[in-house]
Symmetry: C2
Subunit: 405 residues, 2 copies
Amino acid sequence: MAVGLAAPDALWPVGGIRVASGAAGIRYRNRNDLVLLELTPGSHTVAIFTRNAFSAAPIAVARNHLSSAAPRLVLINSGNANAGTGTEGVRDALACCEKLAELFHCRREGVIPFSTGVIGERLPVDKVVALLPDLKSRLGAGGWLEAARAIMTTDSVPKGISRDVVIHGKSVTVTGIAKGAGMIRPDMATMLAFLATDARVNRELLADLLQQTALTSFNSITVDGDTSTNDACVLTATGQSGVEVRKEDNEICQVFSNVLRDVMEHLAQSIVRDGEGATKFVTIAVNQAASFNEARTVAYTLAHSLLVKTALYASDPNWGRILAALGRAEITQLDIDKVDIYLDDTPVFVQGARALNYTEQLGQTVMQKPELMIRIDLHRGQHHARIWTTDLSHDYIRINAEYRS
Amino acid sequence: MAVGLAAPDALWPVGGIRVASGAAGIRYRNRNDLVLLELTPGSHTVAIFTRNAFSAAPIAVARNHLSSAAPRLVLINSGNANAGTGTEGVRDALACCEKLAELFHCRREGVIPFSTGVIGERLPVDKVVALLPDLKSRLGAGGWLEAARAIMTTDSVPKGISRDVVIHGKSVTVTGIAKGAGMIRPDMATMLAFLATDARVNRELLADLLQQTALTSFNSITVDGDTSTNDACVLTATGQSGVEVRKEDNEICQVFSNVLRDVMEHLAQSIVRDGEGATKFVTIAVNQAASFNEARTVAYTLAHSLLVKTALYASDPNWGRILAALGRAEITQLDIDKVDIYLDDTPVFVQGARALNYTEQLGQTVMQKPELMIRIDLHRGQHHARIWTTDLSHDYIRINAEYRS
């Protein structure tokens, strides 16, 4: 059960993008597992990828193709990650691109492939290729929500959001979909996320905007600290709204950037809310750090502590575990006597000792909430970071002991 | 249930050390929770402590006392960690030392205190102090096993071992006890461990030997990656055997060091075998690394991956998860195509792809064993590291969601 998250009611079309989903039977039965996105000529597309050294075959191919041509087609499968498959995996990914390119009479480099699912098994290329003509024939503007469903693996709900904003009197849409629930600790990237807008944005600015907004959205979440081999976040701007976003026009750029941030933060939060076995959605805020990295280090150390995570699961205000995790964070010369710990707005630990008016009952009240914040004030500087995470429950163990990721 | 570990049948006395345990009623009912060790004058004692920035009050006091006097008495309580207790915690620890010193007519600095148990609650000094005369009256040579029981918290069995070795025709004994099952990822120290020998070893050599052997024993284990605020490992040499171990006498030094290593590795393994919820005892060996630190980084990244740990619990040879964890280890420019992965002696992944003759059945056979090895050959250099860890089971969640650490 996702924490405070339902499937989106609807996702809006983005001018210049057509979508289709279908069932290739790669691993799952009776559900879609293959998605095709067609991007109108003149679109700009940028992406960020996992930094896992064992990045999957499709990541290598997508990175390569993106650097040599403007993508016309995006092909995404679930059920098989095509990772740990060596040179055969690369051949398999390229074979899918090739067949799709033939159908659309474009270059192979115009296709960027993505895969998510089980690691270490060959991608069944024949099944993928067999479905491509059908996908082509069913391309349409309205298939986003269906696509969000087709890319799910251990996700319990499809994840997506649409936002619009009026710029120069014209409406600009941003629609995004994402998948991911486990093996979630994106490193300069995310699980799979696909975002599109009908604004016109040049490639350089688009890449800048994606990097900036990824840092505080997809790159600020963790479920279990494990980074996937297949993380990718793709952003396409088709320009079909007729609205141009330029770097020089600061105000417009800010308005557009805010909408993009909204969409990305929603998708990033959605992944955490649907974290495997999650019963809590937890914000960890670290303030007054000497640097942004220091604040993030402390936040992630708490978020990855199994003892903190199981205390969250138990709704147990066991601040000793927060303290112990904080104390092992890899930052230099932490002065205990300056550290404050809050649960939501309740001071728990102030300047090296339990807060005067703190009671177990006060802590318990916060810990029982499905959404709560752990706040640490380090009193070492002016930097801060905020990440989102989950608790660690029996269901996480069950899901990951029973199923293959 | 500890993996391949039962309570020791017996622990041998060490000349020059007297031991007593009793029930102060600090937290537990109907069991001992307080241990007193009396060290004969002329003994040398060295210790290593947690590097957690939030080290507990008794750690601060013990460190301080050790630097100013040769300890005559060691006082250990379970049930309360006296951590996160600020200046009051330090006063409480000192009060216990003071009362004990009065009883023995020695200086307060001659007492080193240790605590383990719940973090963030005041130590009930009155209860501790009230039991001291009784402990003093019952001091004897034979109380080691009882002491191993008294320092347990979430441990399921007492941990201890005795070894002897004949040097220059005389028998030298090393006896050690330890406790710990969760919050286990010692950082240059351990959970609580107390070792004693009747060899005569000067303080400098004793400290060297402790550091060296700790690195590959207590500092090579992890259960959950959480470092305790109270970790400490204490080694006393009483000299009562009449055998002297000197640095200049290389061969004797090696013989003694080997026995010490034996004892420490046994105790370190015992902690892992009794890891909270553990159903597997797993050795992770990383070979052919560019440096010792690199090898350890890779080993710990695997050992802390929740996905690897849940796969171990499920006896699932899910090497994709090993691969993914390996790929996010913080080492520079890892070349996938050179990496080999073995489960025990079964090659699973060789030079970037699944091993030719590998089958799920082969992997499964290894993973079903209660004790197994994951071996990684990096082909980057000549360094290697070996650590011990556990799986992550439902019982870990249950233990840590239900109980306060």
